[in-house]
């Protein structure tokens, strides 16, 4: 499997936790600390799937997704899982409107994360 996942989260412990799970499951993983860094990385190297936190400094997850969806194709169509501690219906709806394809609520076990990432990558292929 040569799927490339980009983890976008400002907390280094969280990035490390997700990266460990995904690498063990055979994915190649890159990381960004906020939306701005993620956009810069994606312009250079595209990803197959994005894991996007909402609350981040510099550029939050929702602003990032809106900006991503305005980019040229195929970058604009990169599937994104929003991963957040916010679980209210209006948060899920806001993420969907911003351009999120899927929504997962933290905390996630490493198994749950890899299972959903697998499903999402499967959907894309």
């Amino acid at each position: 499997m040569d799927k490339r996942i980009l983890i976008i989260d400002d907390a280094s412990l969280v990035r490390l936790y997700y990266r460990d799970a995904l690498q063990r499951a055979g994915y190649s993983v890159d990381e960004a600390m906020n939306g701005l860094e993620a956009l810069e990385k994606l312009l250079v190297t595209p990803a197959d799937l994005l894991l996007v936190d909402i609350n981040m400094p510099k550029m939050d997850g929702l602003t990032f997704l809106k900006s991503l969806r305005r980019q040229p194709m195929p970058l604009a169509a990169t599937p994104a899982i929003v991963v957040s501690t916010e679980a209210a219906p209006q948060d899920v709806e806001a993420a969907r409107r911003a351009g999120g394809n899927f929504y997962l609520v933290k905390p996630l076990t490493q198994d749950t994360l890899t299972r959903y990432v697998g499903l999402c990558c499967g959907i894309k292929s």
Binding site: L16, K106, P107, T109
Partner: protein, 281 residues
Amino acid sequence: MDDPPPVTTDEFRRLCEFLYRRTGMVFKEDKRYYVERRIRERIRATGSTSFTSYFARLRSDFRGEAEKLVNAFTVNETFFYREDHQLRCLTTDLLAKRIAAKPRGDPLLIWSVPCATGEEPYSIAIWLLEHWPEVDAYDVEIVGSDIDTQVLEVAREGIFGKRALIRLSPELIAKYFVPIDENSWRIIPELRQSVRFSSANLMDTAEMRAHGRFDVIFCRNVLIYFDESSRRIAAENLYENLVPGGYICLGHTESMSRISPLFEVCRFSDAIVYQRPLEGP
């Protein structure tokens, strides 16, 4: 250069008095060899001709000598996963209690003070990743502080020898460290980024306040070096550095009940820790 002359009893006392005022650490006659060795080391390192000339240099803090002397006196030997029963207590009991009152996504602050070369704060980070299912649901901030500025530099570098890793399994070492050579390993960048280091003097009330308040403080095996009144000052400072309901873990031979009445004793299955009451002075 010739060896400096032996330190007299009076000189030994003057130096101990200086250290006490500066750090709260107490050295008595039984530690004379330990103290003398370090004084002579500093006399030699500064090129001073006698204790008197060295002491003048120290008192005027010429070229930061006071800090260098304090650095020479702090005990910095530690290792990863030391007293791991307290780490177990952290993830099974303390954090569960702390987050009961916090919405997910909120900051959760953990302070390791003194942190020496960083083994303890990095151990906390590794332990949370390995054992705490909520690790991605809170904004965990781990801070390591020490009075010794040299060890903080080492901590930031994150390079460790074999002895420091002795309690870690080969799997954990492979996961969180990169080998540099046969005898040293460097902690991976994400772990280095997950701990913030700063200097702290437990006796300096104003400086301690500036560090803010934490949910859990690890302050292990340092108060044993203090005398009773310094211990009380340090304990009162630490109390102010805890949020109401926050916990402090001491070394297993230390007891807060003998130091200060401010804290409540909490017995958990893995450790005895002390809590700043939710409502208190």
